[in-house]
Structures are given as structure tokens and as C-alpha cells.
Symmetry: C2
Amino acid sequence: MSSKKLENMIVKMVKEAKKASQSMALVKTSAKNTVLRKMAKALVANTDYLIRENKKDLKAGAAKGLSSALVDRLTLNEKRVKGMARCLLDTVAIKDPVGGIIETIKRPNGLVIKKVRAPMGVVGIIYESRPNVTSDCVGLCLKSGNSVILKGGKEAFYSNKAIYSILRKALKGSKIPPEAVQFVSTTDRAAVNILLQQDEYVDLIIPRGGEGLIRFVADNTRIPVVKHYKGICHTYVAKDADLKIAQAVCFNAKVQRPGVCNAMETMLVHKNCAARFLPKMIKVFQEAGVEIRGCPGTRCIVKKGVKAATLKDWSEEYLDMILSVKVVNSLKEAIDHINTYGSRHSDAIITRDKKQADQFFKSVDSACLYVNTSTRFTDGFEFGFGAEVGISTDKLHARGPMALEGLTTYKYEIHGKGQIRQ
Amino acid sequence: MSSKKLENMIVKMVKEAKKASQSMALVKTSAKNTVLRKMAKALVANTDYLIRENKKDLKAGAAKGLSSALVDRLTLNEKRVKGMARCLLDTVAIKDPVGGIIETIKRPNGLVIKKVRAPMGVVGIIYESRPNVTSDCVGLCLKSGNSVILKGGKEAFYSNKAIYSILRKALKGSKIPPEAVQFVSTTDRAAVNILLQQDEYVDLIIPRGGEGLIRFVADNTRIPVVKHYKGICHTYVAKDADLKIAQAVCFNAKVQRPGVCNAMETMLVHKNCAARFLPKMIKVFQEAGVEIRGCPGTRCIVKKGVKAATLKDWSEEYLDMILSVKVVNSLKEAIDHINTYGSRHSDAIITRDKKQADQFFKSVDSACLYVNTSTRFTDGFEFGFGAEVGISTDKLHARGPMALEGLTTYKYEIHGKGQIRQ
């Protein structure tokens, strides 16, 4: 496709989506839920077609020598199609945020000011190789009253297109205008750049994928982006920590699922409890297969099998069975370490002292702060939101796990009886 | 100053401010209020000094031939110094948002998740010629627990520097670290570009000034910016409007203060009431000195003194005694007009019909929507917020009038008793 033709295609798409978003704001919850249920049914009914189209992607991937991890993410089978349908039905069950009244202000002059939750408008999703993102995001965006523009990775092109075509067909005869769901039907990378320029029509971009993709999106658009680049999460074992709790929580934070953004990457230990805590803790980690990289203080206490941590280790997101360990002299030093090397995602303190926990909460500049529990809980489902669009380490708009509310904005509705300003 | 030296100066400044912001998060409300009161007192005590420094700016301005409007904005006198002090005392009276609990979630596993308001961190203010912005913003940023970096316009350099030096001196011996207030002490425009690159240290930029400044800031930074470019506000007189209310409200929205962003620029009138409403309304406007630019439908009803509106008029922010008028066939046409030509700031409908008002509220994509009252009420003080940092037409974070809460973010504080994720 010529670059002019590509641009025309995308501009047409975002304009249609914007127009559709005005109707979307009026669609009732029950009508949205009906559509989501119909979509879930249609996906399952078309399982064979989806698996057939997915095979095209898998074949192209094999020819290109994709890694087995990537092939796994890309693969659709009966179970995964059912999972996609299930996610749509889960979204039906989540409370519709649109129209919710956040605050009502009554003014002395009789004006009634309502702060009301409203859809964002048009949400763009730019994602990589997981085809389920297509249906998950369509469900979440429609439920929150938004139009959605999908731009998936080229590895999953046929799978995404097939899912999209089924979802869009399900809109027929519904209260949701079909133009509310748009799919950028090209593998041309230039399409992303053109989409990122549509700040007049697109209200929010959510990139789903690796740090490279997220940085590219954030660096190349004026459209607001909700994102986190990475998760370098810490657990600080304070001098008065319950060491049994410390051991259980640290083990969970590192080992339960090391490849995710809320797993612990660095453990900080106060010098006063290091000699009691570290030998047993490190042994447990090593038995589980965790490689330990320690500061000089750590290696002075435990010599066996502990590599020397370099400066680089403190800002590394391993996403693997590796842990850096540092002995610190004070709570203040722990806080400074986290604010210097952390990623403002999730950090924990293990302490019996409410005052120390409070100082940790106030001074660590992260989205989620924990006392006596595991950073692994940073998750929309674990927080009880019923869904997760992503996790944000930004400070404006959504921070931490982001669900349906994060896909909405608010407006002020002011009710008068002819009042004028003096 | 060499560009390297300038960069070093600004990087040092933002690093200091970031460090100070960690202490700021711990400062109690009473300590913040004490500082603000001390600042107010110091400003008044130094009135002579401030007026003397201000004269340097006025002299330079006269030599450059500044417009009388600009000279007026720039001028400090006893009354205005008292006004600055008053604004600081008003800020004392506003509720401190920091530490406020937005929501508490109790999970089945016993975790208690608190969503708590927290300072943003470091706020940068980039502003033009009004010296009072210096003290107003220092007060608002400190009260909300933030460090603040001030970069004022060169026309007010000596005035701003004098105000800053008094405020910073007032921090001596207080609980607020002096590094929490920083002033970019140069008139070199390059300083703005360097400041806009400090996304690692600055959490939020608020530009205060004309559309040119705001666009420059938004286009040249990755730091989040809260802003509105302009206000093209509409009032739509629906077919069933109370025409007495319509006349009073439209007159107020246009004439009470035409030079501000929440004044009406375009009046839309349903065809069914246009013949009854327009002749009298336009006469009243014309008697007040308002120039009317009408669509063909308007000019068919009122011929005398109504200029023909061009396409350009629908997207013009006059900020003056000029009004464009359009007769529309339906509520839908009014909504489409506003969404096409408006600025997403403030728009009103005059109607007796709750259903029409509701459709207007849901379908018009603006920050503030009014029924039967004037768009002039879009204002932090009129909303009862006690202050106004600015008005935002963005959809993320703060929308509409923005006060102290807009200078905060939130964090999740999760309290556990050793829970781990299964």
C-alpha cells in the first residue's frame, strides 16, 4: 500500500471511530452486555476457523524461526479460544463505570455540579503477539463505552484479523455501531506511526508488549499513553521484621512467577537482622534454583554461591530466577535505594513497626506499596477490579493496576435554573 | 551563560527539587500552613522592595514598547502585593489533599488496600508576564506537598526573582526544605527547552499563558502537561427553552467578561424558536456593543447590523465583544456543531426538557456541560474548590477546573499479615 493510501485508510478509520464514540456514550449497560455475550458465543462457534487462520501465523513464524516462547504465546487452541470467550463473559460481570457519579457539589447559588464518569472516546491498542489481546481489549473498551482501534503485531496478523472479523460481525443488529471496533488491516509498520499522529481523534493509547514497543509508542505520540516500562520491585526486610513472614513473602515475591513485572528483583535487608536472616533465606532460594548476586555485606555473611553484584544489577529487571541482595544501614538508605534504582512499580517492607511502614509508604515514590505481604499482588484481579487493562507507573490518570475506570474520564454536569455569574 | 553551564544549573535544580520532594511528602499540614502564613507576611513587609524591583521590569518594558495591557499585567503596587499575600492565606484555608483516603478495599484473603492521595513530586510552572503567578503557584504546590520549579517570562524577571527570594527566605527554619522551591534565574529562552527535557525529575508541567506558550510546551516535552489551548464555548437554545432564561444566560455568558476562556463565542438556536428569540436577543446584544456574525438563517430573521459569518467564525475564540450565531435544525445538529468546532471546554443548553439535557450531557465531548445556566461558572472558585491552578480540557487526570487535587496523584498502600500469592 502506498504511504498516502495507508494514511487515508487510517484517518478514515479514526474519524469513523470518533463518530461512533458519540453513540457509544449513549448505549445502555444491558445492550453492551448483550453484545459481549454474543461475541463470546461467536468466538467459540468459530473455533475451527480461528485455529485454521492461526495456523497461517504459526507457519510463517516457523519459517522465520520464532522462539518457542513466542510460538507458545501465538498459538490458539480450543482451550485458549474458550479462554477468550470467558474473558468477555467476565467483562459482562464487571460494573459499568459510565454514568457513575463521583461527587455532587451543591453551591450557595443553587447550582448543582455533578462529577460524572464518562467514556474516554477512542482508545487505540497497540500490541504484540498474543491474539487474545484482540478480544480482551474489545470487550473492555466497549464495556467502558469507548470505540477501539486495534493494531496487533505482524506475527499474529491472520489470527487477529480472524478474531476481529468475528467480533465485528457480532455487532450486526446491535445497539453498538460497527464502526466502534476498527482493525488496522496491514502488517506495514508505518501504520503505527500514522496512528500515533491522530491526536485529534484518538484519546488514549495503550501499548501492550515489551519495553521496546512501549518506549517507541511513548516517544512518538502526543496522544496520552498509559504504561509501565518495567518492574524492578524490592522487598525491604526491616530490623524488627518478623523473619518467618519475611522469608515466606520474599520467597513468594521472587519464585512464584519470576517472569512477570511484579516479581521481586532486589531484596534489601537491614544490617541488624542480616546475620540472622540471610543464611537461611539464601539457602532456601538457592535450593529453589535462584541465583544470588550480593553486595559486599551480603557476601560477608553468606559466602557460598553468592556472586558479587555490580552496579548494573541494582537497575536490572531479570524476569528470571536471579535475585540481587543488599544489606543496608537504615530505613532511609533502603528508601533512597528504591527511589534511585526502582521503577516506581511495587515495593514492600517487612516490619512490625507501624511508624516505619508509614514512612516507607510516604517516601517511596511507587504506585503500589506493601507492608508484610508480597509485591506479586499488584494485579487488577487481585485488587478486586475484575479485569486488568494494564499496570501504570505514570502518576497522572491511572496509577497501579488499571481496569475499566482507567478507560473512562469524567465530565462536570452543571444543573441551573437560570443562574448567571455576577 | 554557556549552554552547558545552563544545562548543569537546571539539572542540579531539578535533582535538588526531587530530593526535597521526598521530605515534602512527610510535612504535616500545620507546618505547611505556618510557612504559607510566614510567606504572606514577608511579601507585605517587603512591599517597597518588590515595587522597586518591579520598576526595573516596567522600565525595560517601556523601552521595548510593551502594550498597555501587558504593562498593566506586569505592574506591582501595594494593592497587588496584598492580593498575593491574600492568595497565600486563602491557600492556607483549603483542605490539604495529601493522605486523603479515596477508597479502601478489603479482599477475601485479608489484604487491606488503601488508595491514598499523594503529592505529585516535582511540578514545573512555565509562565508569562503576571508576577503573582510566582507566589500563587508556590503556595498551591507546597500545600499539596510538591516541590516547585518556577520559570517566568523575561518581561517580569526582576519582579519574579524578588518574589522568589522573599518566599525562599521564609522557608528558613521551617519544616520545608528550601530546595523545594526553585527559580530558573535566567532570561535565556533555552532554559525552557532544557527544563522540558527533565522527565526523569519533573512529574508535571503547568504552562500559564497564551496559546502559543502552551502549544510550545506541549509539543516539546515528554513530561505530562495539564492544559487547555482555548475556550470556544457554546450556548444552545433548544426549541422548548424558557426564552427569558435563555436571554439572561446568553447575555451573561457573552458580556459579563468577554476576554476569558469560559465566555460564550457561539450561540446556537433551534429553528422553531429562532424567530421568537433572535430579534430581541440580538437587539440587546447590539445595544451592549456586541458585534453579531450570523449564519444565513440568522440573517433571514434579523437583517439589521448582522454580518455574515464565515466558516472561520465557527472555530474562532474572539475573546472580545463579538458573537457568532447559528440557527440549527435539531439537537443533533447542535451537538455535532459543538463537537466539530468547539474546544471541549464549556458548553450549555437552555431547555425545559430533561431528556434533551441528558442527551446533550452524554454526547457533547466537553469538560463542563451546563443546563439553564452560564458557561462563565467554569472556575475553581465558583465550583467551590477554593483555588484554581488552571482549567484542563484534557481527558486524563484533571478535567475542567483544576485545584489542589489536580496537583496530587494517588498510591496504593497494601497492608498484609504475611499473605502470599497462590
